[in-house]
């Protein structure tokens, strides 16, 4: 066994952990406005890391990822509203249902490639919406309003833990044996198979992890919103924002989802104050510019043009 040293973890992981550590230390002293902003930023980052597992790492574009976020939200709402559980238990319930759903859906849809997978994933999100509308226990078209307290500190630490685990798993995957298998799938799936990579199993595991964390982040999001409404919860906008964050930040990287979340969330909050709806125009333009001129996102571009950063960010 090699000894585990902090230095061996690399500056990117240490940097992210330091950032999260500082946030955790000062959360209790933050003014409420700032704390709310930070909580939402962390939720967006958690969503970005979740879609990064499947779309960033394998290149399978999950266009309907909002499904797992919504299922996480409905799991929370059912756990808290009907079963009278503690919200954190509700978040866990939503995450686990999302995981199970991702396993079931992924076993079928991951057989498709490219645009066919993207369409199939969008179809599953649409189907989820219409199914929820018919389930009275989930509030049908009315949604569920929760009678939960205003607990910003609890929201903060819950999403903080979720995000920290995601970052840890992302690091573990990208820096180990699995990372090579996954990169080979993204580069050439058929060639990867002929070298012994069990592509179907690897993709399914990643999709399941992705569903688990999208569900967990969704749970916190709707806990904070104290309710869930199907029209909003299944909105294509969330899927697009998740994709936008990792495209902007850098697909499949360790730091990219965090950068992408910062860029998308902060600009959306800023432009929201300028003109409602305008923030989506800005995010859309940002994605187009990045995709056209900086296809490797913020992280890839920095690594390419600033050689000094090459060993520092990943």
């Amino acid at each position: 066994m090699r000894r585990l040293s902090l230095r061996a973890l690399g500056p990117t992981l240490l940097g992210i952990l330091a950032f999260l550590g500082v946030l955790a230390a000062v959360a209790g002293w933050m003014p409420l406005v700032l704390l709310t902003l930070v909580i939402n930023l962390l939720i967006f980052a958690a969503l970005a890391y979740s879609i990064n597992f499947i779309t960033g790492l394998t290149g399978y574009v999950s266009f309907g990822h909002v499904l797992f976020m919504a299922v996480g939200g409905y799991g929370l709402a059912y756990g808290v509203g009907t079963l009278h559980w503690h919200p954190v238990a509700g978040v866990a319930l939503g995450a686990l249902v999302s995981l199970a759903l991702a396993l079931g859906i992924g076993a079928v849809t991951l057989r498709f490639r490219g645009v066919y997978f993207a369409i199939a994933s969008q179809v599953t999100a649409l189907a989820g919406f219409y199914i929820v509308l018919e389930i009275q226990e989930l509030g049908g078209g009315q949604g569920i309003v929760l009678n939960v307290g205003f607990e910003p500190i609890a929201w903060f630490y819950t999403i903080w833990v979720i995000l920290a685990i995601e970052v840890g798993i992302t690091y573990w995957i990208t820096h180990g044996r699995l990372g090579y298998g996954i990169r080979s799938i993204r580069a050439d799936e058929d060639a990867a198979k002929t070298l012994g990579v069990h592509a179907a199993a690897l993709k399914l595991v990643l999709f399941a992890i992705s569903g688990l964390f999208a569900g967990a982040a969704g749970g916190v999001y709707y806990w904070q919103g104290s309710g869930i409404f199907p029209n909003d919860a299944f909105s294509l906008t969330f899927s697009l924002i998740m994709l936008a964050m990792i495209v902007i930040g850098g697909l499949g990287t360790l730091l990219g989802p965090l950068f992408g979340a910062l860029a998308v969330y902060l600009s959306s909050q800023y432009f929201l104050t300028v003109l409602i709806g305008f923030e989506f125009v800005i995010i859309g333009l940002l994605v187009i510019v990045i995709a056209l001129f900086l296809p490797e996102g913020i992280v890839g571009t920095l690594r390419k043009y600033v050689p000094e950063l090459r060993g520092l960010i990943e």
């Binding site: 044996r177 002929t194 012994g196």
Partner: protein, 248 residues
């Protein structure tokens, strides 16, 4: 002699096209079997059937007596058979070493330790004459180098039977001579068995102990290389019916 790989009466149809029609062949442990035939004779399809990329419509394929036809490709690799691609398919986003490391990590050796896989990859790249290309992006390799990278990858899986699809094609005369010498040397040193599909007659006749000739999906001849090239059916398949007939 031990028959490691046996293909018995294998058929494969794609819709109405009967690509492989009842072919049988056997590869002995550590031997090189050449598989030749004109374009479209079903050679590559047969390799794909063995590699698990397609399922035979009929017939069976065994490794050491155990059925392997219809297994998924990664299980065929785990069983010790690995195939190169006719047109090299390096993972373009990776370096030479990383390409080979994937094979070491997921092949039949299943090296779980990353540094060890990297070391194996470096060693195998050296064996195939790609020393110095370890940390070069595989997208910048020449065709000849990509062919060697393909070869390095199958070696690094730890396979004892290699399915080599036209590894000698598209090379210049000098490159071909080097490649044949390299192959013969490594085969002698490492002792792997190989099924070599090839257009370049001279290469395949040099490296093989035994040759199977296919035409239109069927086996039309087999035997030692020098015997096979004298066979009228083979000459006819390659050069047309006139050439196969004895001069009047």
């Amino acid at each position: 002699m031990k028959r490691a790989l046996a293909v018995s009466n294998v058929h494969k149809s794609f819709g109405g096209v009967r690509a492989v029609r009842g072919v049988s062949l056997a590869l002995e442990e550590g031997h090189v079997l050449g598989l030749i035939g004109p374009n479209g004779s079903g050679k590559t399809t047969l390799l794909n059937l063995i590699a698990g990329l397609a399922k035979p419509s009929k017939g069976e394929i065994t490794l050491d007596g155990r059925r392997i036809d219809g297994l998924a490709p990664h299980r065929i690799v785990a069983a010790g058979i690995a195939k190169t691609h006719q047109i090299p398919r390096p993972f373009l986003s990776m370096t030479g070493r990383e390409n080979v490391a994937v094979a070491a990590l997921y092949g039949s050796n299943e090296t779980r330790d990353l540094p060890e896989a990297m070391e194996t990859a470096g060693r195998v790249l050296g064996l195939v004459g790609l020393a110095g290309k370890e940390d070069v992006a595989s997208s910048s390799l020449t065709v000849q180098q990509r062919k060697r990278l393909e070869f390095a990858r199958v070696l690094a899986t730890g396979a004892r039977i290699l399915l080599l699809d036209e590894i000698f094609a598209g090379l210049s005369q000098d490159e071909l001579r080097d490649a044949v010498a390299l192959f013969a040397r490594l085969q002698g040193e490492l002792g792997f068995g190989a099924l070599v599909v090839e257009h370049v007659m001279r290469a395949v006749l040099t490296v093989s102990q035994h040759v199977v000739v296919m035409e239109e999906g069927s086996k039309i001849a087999e035997g030692p290389p020098q015997e096979v090239v004298q066979n009228p059916a083979v000459i006819e398949a390659y050069l047309g019916p006139e050439a196969g007939r004895a001069p009047p």
